[in-house]
């Protein structure tokens, strides 16, 4: 049984999603149904994580054909961790988004949940598949499910979704061209096979372009600065139940995919060729960080502020991956985990704020502390994390990134990281100032305490405190999960 865990981690949410679309639209029933199945999916992923820890690498041959013939799944310790992270974020997102179902989903609930589960399955597939073309299919399912989940929010979500569709499809097509260029030169699609072949070839134009197209495609999916245009609006106008799931995972999985393209496919050749690429990519990342942070500074809508922060965070990880230094890679991957959790908290806080004060503009935040202390506390926790205060995980990931950048002499990246921390300080100062020190007393009589807001605030706070655990245990986590997969 245990050798089937890896396939079950993908198939289980998929099957549940397909069955969910046949369920009757009864809210309580569906809530319990979804919760139970996501909990079970969590157990499966956790089992996979334990298995990867004991066996270091789990492989699975689909339909019984050995790898180059059939499709192969492969889990390293890190992808085991990501797999569990996906299930866990999905469970929390499910619980956090449940309150918004009534207003935003209505009678379409079974179909909404079906897409939710399909998205989880596609994310799992993205993280576990070891076949370059299968990854494209997974990329497309996750995008299609995301389009549906964002667009049903209505209003401005439609135009945002359309932009997302155009840019997402172009990104996926670039990825497909990259895979095609690799296929015409090597004749295989299996990632391990590709790595083996590429290790001994002369590095010619077709390979450079293959790498280039794969990277451009993934940059579009990651929403790094000049290619970020789709992200802020899409995430801002998405229904809350969607953004809680999509925002923490979508761009991070693109980062993970880029890591795999760089080191699993091109691992053998990239070391000799990375310097010229690195020069450009780290510069791009530094610009991306600064641009994302300044975009965020200009916003007044809490959700949009956080959506723009995602653009900045993508820059951190991009830069870390291309630093040409193992510490940079470790930092980038640790930041990936930390950022997924932090973004989850951010978007939970958005829902909690909306429940507690009835709006999410900066103006609404006035007196949040009095109205929902737990939500305000969660906001502080995640602010500390994003600014990079020890002992939060954000501090350790940034510290690792900065040591990596200094070791490889990329001072512009260091400057961008420090400036971004400063920018985050300003952003969260503006938010927290209003939340804790309102300029005028709010009208107490008009306002009733929201129980849901408090519950969500408590949930956000719990996960936020998990960031401290992540920070205190950062070295253990890096040793256990990240250093084994980063080539030294």
């Amino acid at each position: 049984m245990s050798d089937q865990l890896i396939i079950l981690a993908i198939i289980y949410p998929l099957f549940v999603g397909v069955v969910t679309s046949l369920m009757p639209c009864r809210e309580r029933l569906l809530a319990i149904w979804g919760m139970v199945h996501l909990a079970l999916a969590n157990l499966l992923s956790l089992g996979l994580l334990v298995q990867t820890l004991t066996e270091h690498q789990v492989t699975y041959h689909l339909s019984g054909w050995a790898p180059p013939l059939g499709i192969e799944l492969r889990a390293t310790v890190f992808s085991g961790l990501i797999s569990w992270l996906i299930s866990a974020v999905a469970l929390v997102g499910f619980i956090g988004g449940r309150d918004t179902w009534k207003d935003q989903v209505g009678e379409r609930l079974p179909h909404f949940l079906a897409l939710f589960f399909l998205l989880v399955a596609a994310f799992q597939g993205l993280c576990l598949s070891n076949d370059a073309f299968n990854l494209y299919v997974m990329l497309e399912i996750s995008s299609l499910a995301t389009y549906g989940l964002i667009a049903f929010g209505g209003g401005r979500a439609y135009l945002a979704t359309f932009h997302y569709i155009v840019m997402g499809t172009i990104g996926a097509s670039f990825y497909l061209i990259g895979v095609g260029y690799l296929y015409i030169k090597t004749g295989t699609l299996n990632i391990s096979d590709l790595a083996q072949i590429l290790a001994g070839v002369p590095w010619t134009e077709a390979y450079i372009l293959a790498l280039g197209f794969l990277i451009i495609g993934l940059l579009l999916k990651m929403a790094v600065f000049p290619l970020h245009l789709w992200l802020p609006n899409a995430y801002t106008y998405a229904p809350d139940a969607t953004s809680i799931l999509v925002a923490p995972l979508s761009t991070k999985l693109a980062v993970f995919l880029m890591f795999r393209v760089m080191f699993d496919i091109f691992g053998g050749v990239i070391d000799d060729n990375i310097p010229s690429w690195s020069l450009f990519m780290v510069l791009l990342a530094s610009f991306g960080i600064l641009a994302g942070t300044s975009l965020s500074l200009a916003q007044r809508d809490l959700k949009k502020i956080f959506a723009c922060l995602i653009v900045a965070e993508a820059g951190y990880m991009l830069g870390g991956l291309w630093l040409h230094d193992p510490r940079g890679n470790v930092g980038a991957l640790f930041h990936l985990v930390n950022d997924a959790v932090a973004t989850l908290v951010l978007f939970l806080v958005v829902v909690a704020v909306q429940e507690s004060v009835g709006g999410r503009n900066l103006g609404h935040l006035s007196g949040l502390f009095r109205k929902s202390p737990l939500t305000a506390a969660a906001l502080i926790v995640v602010a500390f994390n994003l600014i990079g205060v020890p002992p939060f995980a954000g501090f350790f990931s940034k510290a690792t990134l900065i040591t990596g950048a200094i070791a490889s002499g990329r001072l512009e990246f260091v400057v961008a990281l420090l400036l971004a921390s400063l920018g985050n300080l300003v952003i969260f100062f503006r938010i927290l100032e209003r939340a804790y020190f309102p300029s005028e007393e709010p009208f107490e009589e008009k306002w009733t305490r929201s129980k849901r807001g408090d519950v969500l605030g408590a949930l956000a706070l719990c996960i936020g405190l998990f960031l401290i655990v992540l920070g205190l245990q950062s070295n253990t986590i890096m040793d256990l999960f990240i250093r084994p997969v980063v080539p030294l």
Binding site: F133, Y136, V137, E140, S143, L144, Y147, G148, A151, G154, G155, R156, Y158, L159, T161, F162, I165, V166, T169, I170, S173, L176, I177, G180, Y183, I184, L189
Partner: protein
Amino acid sequence: MSLIQSGFIYWFFVVLLMIGMYGAVGKDNLVKKLIGLSIFQTAIILFYVSIGFKNGPATIPILQGGHGEPIKDIAAASYFNPVPHVLMLTAIVVGVATVGVALAVIQRLYAEYGTLEENEILDKIANS
């Protein structure tokens, strides 16, 4: 001499890709953008399909005489490479699925703003 069954097809694929890219990015009308996207995707499909072609005695990847007695001694050089064809079946279906979702979004946009031109929609958003 044949143009389709020669390296010239790469030029053709690149030209179609450029047309599609221009349509998808440069056009203002949402449906036109989508048409550009479709052309873009067919160009990629053409590229993959051209990978599978083989000169010489090769023919389509359906074994000859499959209805009768078991076939023996199949030479790889006598059939086109079927792998890119398999991949492109998937890509075509994915493409049409994307187009369907995008068209649904377009209908909603039209219901919301009463136009299909992107700049007019942006104007209406800015004015509201």
